[in-house]
């Protein structure tokens, strides 16, 4: 495991609430825009490709067919 999944947030309730509140005024399309910006900002902050690929795989569990999870950049 390179992705750190141990508790790291000093104020987990505060961050959870801040995330949820950020979407309060947003319609679905705006929420998607917000998601996308936040993901890119955080992905760049994390920086480590292995960590990011692992997070992508875990987030996709149960949603993305298993045989495609490791196949994020298939050729052709």
């Amino acid at each position: 495991m390179t992705l750190d999944t141990s508790p790291r947030l000093a104020d987990p309730d505060g961050i959870f609430t801040a995330l949820a509140r950020a979407y309060r005024q947003l319609d679905e399309s705006q929420a998607r825009t917000f998601d996308a910006r936040l993901i890119l900002l955080l992905a760049n902050h994390v920086g480590d490709e292995a960590v990011l690929r692992e997070a992508i795989a875990i987030a996709g569990e149960g949603l993305v067919p298993r045989d495609q999870i490791g196949d994020l950049d298939a050729v052709p």
Binding site: R32, T33, D35, A36, R37, I39, L40, L41, N44, D73, V75, P76
Partner: protein, 550 residues
């Protein structure tokens, strides 16, 4: 037989039995012509068949990358192509009405060739044809159409149709450079693997006197073409290549009507700007390749072997680089100096290149034409954030421009010895990098002295002795020695060069004694910290696919 090889076109139809040619190339586009020229310069006579007698209509390929220009310079047409074309190295990417990123493909000086040259494909082909015609070894046969073939164990039998009737011919090796609709591929019933990009593009060549900047410009969602992308490139003669994304469901007939095309172009070029449309066609793009590029005695190159979307200029460039990889291997195999396994390395190395190009094309297509709403949101987020943050500018992918493939996994490479401690430089499998040199006070370029033969490129400390150089030159596959001395060293009478600006040493991570073994296609086969003829001989055997000594 030499007599057969020198036989002319008229002899094929009249011989008692079909004449056996060493190499027949099918297809007279940039790939086939480059290969024919390269083979002839290697001393291999070649017959080139093309079912047409005109250069390609309109303008298809436009952008030729530095590495391709270097290949053509080796073939004697680099300067002619650059002189006719429009050189460029900068690009701009816009989102809506904002400039979001700029790039410079060649930020450092000290290269003979520009980062890119734009030239209409038919002008390029005319230049290549003139070069081929000047070579006795190239037998160009226009309006000679391959109509049948039979692959045998030691040759390929061909039937060729001409306006004067059909004839039969044989060749030891057949190279299919006959494009995306390759007849050779269909005759062998070989399938492509890959996919069609589900998008349509209107590709226009437009003449206008208006003065737009001499750079690659790309727009995402511009005011003049909402929700889609536009790419604009300069060509010689006040000609502009403009690609407009139309989407998969575009009405092809309506979109190519002259009034509709003019309306779209007027929005881009501006009201009141006079222009004329030279060509306007709708394209869909394929991203696919053959499973293998070598089938018995038939080799595939260029679009006949692999196709990618044009964002990145990876089509013609990769075809010419296929030719660059193949010519010297065919020559050594035909001469009996290397085993057929050397041609298998063409398959391995150029498959790796095709996969790299396909991956880059797929990534660019995913950014230019996102396939899901969330992919679109991520794309737009990158473009939005790019206005403020440099990290987001690195995410913008309007097509990563053609760069030569490093044959990292090639069986021809001799890996670096850890003890040699190379940090950077040009690794095994990579193409040599150019650098300015001097000789007896004359300015020169490194790449001009590499190619066609194996070369030991020696950064002298203690230069090799004449005896050592003669030993290498006397091998069955000779190795020529090129010596480079540090700036300020006195000229010696050994034909060596001076690293006038210190760039060669920098680019090759060289210390006194550092030695590179360079292949005939200017790719690095091996490198060491000292000049060692025994090590060079072993690496040479590996680079021509000879079985390892027991």
């Amino acid at each position: 037989m030499a007599g057969d090889q020198m036989a002319g076109e008229q002899d094929d139809g009249h011989a008692a039995r079909p004449l056996r040619r060493p190499v027949v190339v099918v297809g007279g586009g940039p790939t086939g012509l480059s290969l024919a020229i390269d083979l002839a310069l290697h001393g291999v006579p070649v017959v080139l068949l093309d079912d047409d007698d005109t250069v390609s209509p309109g303008s298809r390929a436009v952008c030729y990358a530095k590495r391709t220009l270097e290949v053509w310079d080796r073939l004697g047409v680099g300067e002619a192509v650059v002189a006719q074309g429009v050189g460029w190295q900068r690009g701009r990417v816009h989102h809506g009405d904002r400039l979001v990123s700029e790039f410079d493909l060649r930020p450092e000086p000290g290269h003979q060739m520009p980062a890119f040259t734009n030239l209409q494909q038919y002008l390029l082909e005319e230049t290549l044809i003139a070069r081929a015609q000047a070579l006795a070894g190239v037998d160009l046969r226009w309006r000679h159409r391959l109509i049948g073939m039979m692959a045998e164990a030691d040759h390929v039998a061909l039937r060729v149709d001409t306006p004067d009737g059909p004839y039969d011919m044989e060749c030891a090796w057949l190279v299919a450079a006959d494009g995306a609709r390759s007849l050779v591929r269909r005759l062998l019933a070989l399938e492509f693997i890959g996919q069609t990009v589900r998008d349509r593009f209107l590709i226009c060549d437009v003449a206008t006197e208006a003065d737009f900047p001499k750079l690659r410009q790309f727009w995402f969602d511009p005011p003049f073409h909402r929700e889609r992308s536009v790419l604009m490139h300069r060509q010689p003669g006040n000609m502009w290549r403009i690609d407009l994304q139309l989407g998969w469901y575009a009405d092809t007939a309506a979109e190519t009507s002259p009034a509709r095309v003019a309306m779209r172009l007027r929005r881009i070029l501006g009201e009141g700007v006079a222009f004329s449309v030279e060509s306007a066609e709708i394209y869909t793009f394929q991203c696919r390749r053959l499973e293998r590029f070598l089938h018995g005695r038939v080799l595939f190159a260029g679009d006949a072997a692999h196709q990618v979307s044009p964002f990145g200029a990876r089509g013609a460039n990769s075809g010419v680089q296929d030719a660059d990889n193949l010519a010297w291997k065919l020559r050594l195999v035909l001469a009996g100096l290397a085993p057929v396994a050397l041609l298998e390395s063409y398959n391995c190395e150029r498959l790796a290149a095709a996969d790299e190009n396909l991956r880059e094309a797929a990534r660019a297509a995913g950014f230019i034409a996102p396939r899901t709403p969330m992919a679109r949101a991520l794309r737009d987020a990158a473009l939005h954030l790019a206005g403020r943050f440099s990290f987001a500018r690195t995410l913008i992918n309007s097509g990563r421009l053609s760069a030569p493939t490093v044959y990292v996994e090639s069986p021809l490479n001799t890996p670096d010895a850890t003890a040699d401690g190379f940090a950077g430089g040009v690794p095994p499998g990579a193409p040599c990098v150019d650098a300015p040199l001097g000789q007896q006070g004359e300015a020169d370029w490194l790449l001009r002295h590499l190619g066609f033969r194996f070369t030991a490129l020696v950064f002298a400390g203690d230069p090799p002795s004449p005896g050592q150089m003669a030993q290498l030159a006397g091998l069955p596959v000779p190795v020529h020695t090129v010596i480079i001395r540090a700036a300020g060293s006195p000229d010696e009478a050994d034909g060596g060069f001076t690293d006038t600006e210190g760039r060669a040493c920098d680019r090759y991570d060289a210390r006194p004694g550092t030695t590179y073994l360079v292949r005939p296609d200017q790719h690095v086969a091996a490198r060491w910290r000292r000049f060692d003829p025994a090590a060079i001989t072993v690496a040479l055997a590996r680079a021509i696919a000879l079985p390892a000594a027991a």
